[in-house]
């Protein structure tokens, strides 16, 4: 990857994180931690990976994306708005009555949202259904779904894993945003769904482990996912919850909490500095 491309992605990711912060602060509600941890993954998907046409949100041959960890909705909304699916001016309406930007993704209201999600474990099954539809039609479009590592505690995730492998859904790529935290604390302390690599290998997946904040690593992993035949791929992306805002980083308490005015100002300053840094380079 050229440095200029890497810098452009860094800028886009900083912009996305600022959009997340603005939405959650304006709403005084929402889930900043997981949206910030997955910001680089979403940036890669919506800028480099997904074959989309914002002018035709329902284009039949588009790649699909299902945000199975639906509470990271402000990240998805920022990615969609900045890609041109709807006016970024709508972002401050997040979670307000009458807004299209529901607390969790709503495919009937929001252009570019391929599936309603939010109840953990369900999005990934719907992604399997989409991948199956593409297989039945012999179509070349692909399906991507982003899950949380806490979400791995839902039994339905493993039902879906069996289904994806059994039906050889090599046209789908799962990404696990492994930030290590869930509402009640460390994932390993709450219920310990790991080791995810061995489990997914046992379930018949190609397993790729990456730093979820490293665009070069993400590029290589998604290329390997596209190249794989006969089995689905899971990218286990190690991330930092709250990434980019110093006081939110690696803190379970910022899973689903909005910053106050003072915290917002500090977070904004940090993210704007990050944006400026990559504007320069």
């Amino acid at each position: 990857m050229e440095q200029s491309e890497r810098s452009a992605l860094r800028r886009a990711a900083a912009r996305l994180r600022l959009d997340v912060l603005e939405q959650v602060f304006t709403a005084q509600s929402g889930h900043p931690g997981g949206a910030l941890s997955s910001a680089d993954i979403l940036t890669w998907l919506y800028n480099k990976e997904l074959n989309l046409d914002p002018a035709q949100p329902r284009w039949p041959d588009r790649d699909r994306f299902v945000l199975s960890k639906g509470h990271s909705s402000p990240g998805l909304y920022a990615a969609l708005a900045r890609r041109g699916f709807f006016d970024p001016a709508l972002l401050p309406t997040f979670r307000k009555s009458g807004s299209i930007l529901q607390g969790h993704p709503d495919m009937k209201k929001i252009p570019g949202v391929d599936m309603t999600s939010g109840s953990l474990g369900q999005g990934v099954s719907t992604a399997c259904g989409m991948a199956l539809a593409a297989k039945l039609d012999g179509a070349s479009w692909r399906v991507y779904t982003l899950l949380g590592d806490g979400e791995m505690e839902e039994g339905q995730v493993w039902e879906a894993a069996m289904f994806a492998a059994h039906n050889k859904l090599d046209n789908m790529c799962w990404i696990v945003d492994s930030n290590g935290l869930q509402i009640d604390g460390r994932v390993e302390d709450v219920a310990g769904p790991g080791p995810l690599d061995k489990k997914f290998e046992g379930f018949g997946f190609q397993v790729l482990k990456v730093d979820g904040h490293d665009f070069d690593a993400l590029e290589a992993a998604f290329a390997a996912a596209r190249a794989e035949k006969g089995r689905p791929t899971v990218i286990l992306a190690t991330t930092v919850k709250g990434k980019g805002v110093s006081f939110m980083e690696d803190q379970a308490g910022w899973h689903g909490k909005a910053p106050n005015a003072e915290q917002y100002a500090q977070a904004k300053q940090e993210l704007e500095a990050e944006l400026a840094r990559w504007e320069v380079e």
Partner: protein
């Protein structure tokens, strides 16, 4: 067409197979019960559009939602207990809320499942499915009506739950009499002036037999087949209640939340104040026994409907 004794699950499987060519987007899913739900008939006719999801009903409903989002018409079949019951939240959030074009077949509903006992005798499915906004709930009575209902649900855009039974049931229809099958429109099978018997599913032939028993005692009973529980044919319900002044509902389902409660709500909305009795399973679990033996034990036979009719007629 001749009268035919067939389980509605068989009629369902046969009809799916017959419609495979006509509906190229039709995809049938099952959860390791295809020999019981009779989607195996479709699987034999159209194996390329049959997917066994294994014993994982929650995932199956999600897969169905994803297929529908990609333009397919999925039919997801398993026992009523494991779709409407086990996968209720998947149906609510992944199918109902986005109003996806998913058809859910709940077979082996009611106590007539028989020997398997209470864990498999779903008595709550119509109540659960009725609570989901935009969900259509069908409960056909016999072979011919099931054939019409399966076609009707495929033509209908939006989520549909269809309730099917295990036991062979006598037909009350002939094929030609169902040309006017319309979702949401009940069928008046017998005119009457003293009491209205509103029945669904396996209770429709029981209600017709009850009307004969009542006629022998000089009581004129109207009988309507309410094959669509939601949207309910409120107009027909109110009209028959006004005309006869007394109503009995009959369903092989809990007395809570099914046809009876839907009828009561419709009568209240229409401000029709008549005595009503619900022939249904009265807030208890089933148990093991023979299918029709349990229909008898739980008070769901023609004689029970007739007795209820005499009671409501006396309360007028």
């Amino acid at each position: 067409m001749e009268p035919i004794k067939e389980a509605t699950r068989v009629s369902f499987g046969e009809t799916l197979a017959e419609l495979a060519a006509e509906y190229p987007d039709l995809v049938v899913l099952d959860a390791d019960l295809s020999k019981a739900t009779r989607t195996d008939i479709f699987a034999a006719a159209c194996p390329e559009r049959f997917v066994n999801c294994g014993i994982a009903e929650c995932n199956m409903l999600g897969v169905a939602a994803g297929l529908a989002a990609a333009g397919k018409i999925p039919v997801a079949a398993t026992f009523a207990m494991f779709s409407a019951g086990r996968a209720y939240e998947q149906i609510r959030n992944s199918v109902g809320y986005p109003h996806l074009n998913v058809k859910i077949a709940g077979t082996h509903a009611g106590v007539s499942v028989g020997e398997d006992g209470a864990t498999h005798q779903c008595l709550e499915d119509m109540a659960l499915m009725r609570t989901i906004p935009g969900m259509t709930v069908l409960c056909p009575a016999d072979h011919y009506e099931t054939k019409a209902a399966v076609r009707g649900m495929l033509e209908h855009e939006g989520p549909v739950y269809i309730r099917l039974g295990r036991l062979p049931v006598d037909s009350v229809y002939h094929a030609h009499s169902l040309e006017n099958f319309t979702i949401g429109k009940g069928n008046l099978l017998r005119e009457g002036t003293d009491v209205a018997l509103l029945a669904t599913g396996l209770e429709v032939p029981e209600a017709l037999a009850a009307a004969e028993l009542l006629a022998a005692q000089g009581v004129s009973a109207a009988v309507a087949d309410i094959h669509t529980i939601k949207p309910l044919d409120a107009e027909l319900v109110a009209e028959l209640a006004r005309k006869t002044g007394a109503v009995v509902t009959a369903e092989e389902h809990s007395a809570i939340g099914g046809l009876g409660d839907a009828v009561l709500a419709a009568l209240a909305d229409a401000d029709v104040r008549v005595p009503v009795e619900k022939v249904a399973v009265q807030d208890v679990y089933g148990h093991s026994g023979t299918g029709m033996g349990l229909v008898d034990e739980f008070g769901l036979r023609a004689k029970d409907i007739a007795a209820a009719a005499l009671r409501v007629a006396a309360r007028k």
